[in-house]
Symmetry: C2
Subunit: 205 residues, 2 copies
């Protein structure tokens, strides 16, 4: 599959590494093409870098960008995204308080992004997996929420290819809970071992 | 410490076992005194059973009851609970849909219980730990939310005594997220190994 990852930060790197290992072709797009090229070089021959310039050719698009930027991408690309699968990974944390979210009461970032690009098959995934854990090869739980069954099937398949454990938590509304719980995961990092490399999981007994 | 557990179901059993092993004195209270006595007998010499009849003598009270019953207990005992530490463990799941909660939008069961008994030091804990996992002796993450620092300190201490890993996620408002995430934990049991014995955890790397 050809996957366009927007952004070239740590999460783009972690997801890109997993997808390339899973046998997929990864395009990294960034407003700064040098950054995209650098990350693509690190990901290897199945990856390429490009300047941010549309989604043509991509079967799946990953917004590996902060919430505000992801929303802007959805608005900017609204017409070309219709019918496509977009993976939203963001955590709309209020970094001024680190004790709440910046999304409107009762709404998730994923729903806001979906509303900005009607007809897009938005799937929430990877918001609870820290980049450092994606970058190595241990299995991780990936919680998936979305309203489009085919898009969720696609994301589930990508996870399985990448040695991840997909867990379908239901409709896109449940992204609210994934985002809210990840805030708790982030804000207690000083209390738990292995800070910023911990794993939110439904660990088997 | 003398702890009154209201209820004699699986969660009362799991928490009771942990607390007794942790060196505490446990009283089991139930509307049906035989059930309370049976569970107390199973818990051993540090436990006793009684009919549900107030909280006198107890330093900490655990509502090991469903949401509606817990709210009724709070209303019924409002005056005697003021200043006391109450642990609310409930999950206000809408069992007709198994896809939502019965609490008012934006409110947690814990906050509703606290509102029903003003002045009570309500702490949310143990709502994400399945009874079967509490009943054995492996460590488990216990997520704790509450507005009263002393009450949280007490609950944190009880957890440490019981070989559990307390994680303070902040104020009582965060109980909303603990409850909502536990619904997801419950509803995906058919997708994950080790059903109803899995562990919601921030597993270290």
């Amino acid at each position: 599959m050809e996957i366009l990852i927007v952004g070239s930060g740590n999460m783009a790197r972690g997801i890109g590494l997993r997808l390339v290992r899973g046998g997929h072709r990864v395009r990294i797009a960034d407003r700064e093409p040098d950054k995209a090229a650098d990350l693509a070089a690190e990901l290897g021959d199945s990856a390429s870098g490009e300047i941010l310039d549309g989604t043509a050719g991509a079967e799946v698009i990953v917004f590996a960008t902060p919430y505000e930027a992801s929303k802007q991408l959805a608005e900017m690309w609204a017409s070309e995204l219709a019918g496509k699968t977009v993976i939203d990974i963001c955590n709309p944390v209020d970094f001024t308080t680190f004790d709440g979210l910046v999304t409107p009461e009762g709404k998730s970032a994923a729903e806001e992004i979906a509303a900005a690009a009607p007809g897009t098959r938005v799937v929430k995934a990877f918001n609870t997996t820290f980049a450092s854990r994606l970058a190595n090869s241990t299995p991780l739980d990936v919680f998936i929420a979305g309203d489009d069954p085919d898009a969720k099937k696609t994301v589930t398949g990508l996870c399985l290819d990448a040695d991840l454990r997909p867990i379908d938590v239901g409709g896109l509304k449940h992204a609210r809970v994934l985002e809210a719980f990840q805030l708790l995961h982030m804000k207690v990092q000083d209390q738990i071992q292995g800070g910023w490399a911990t794993e939110l999981t439904f660990k088997p007994a």
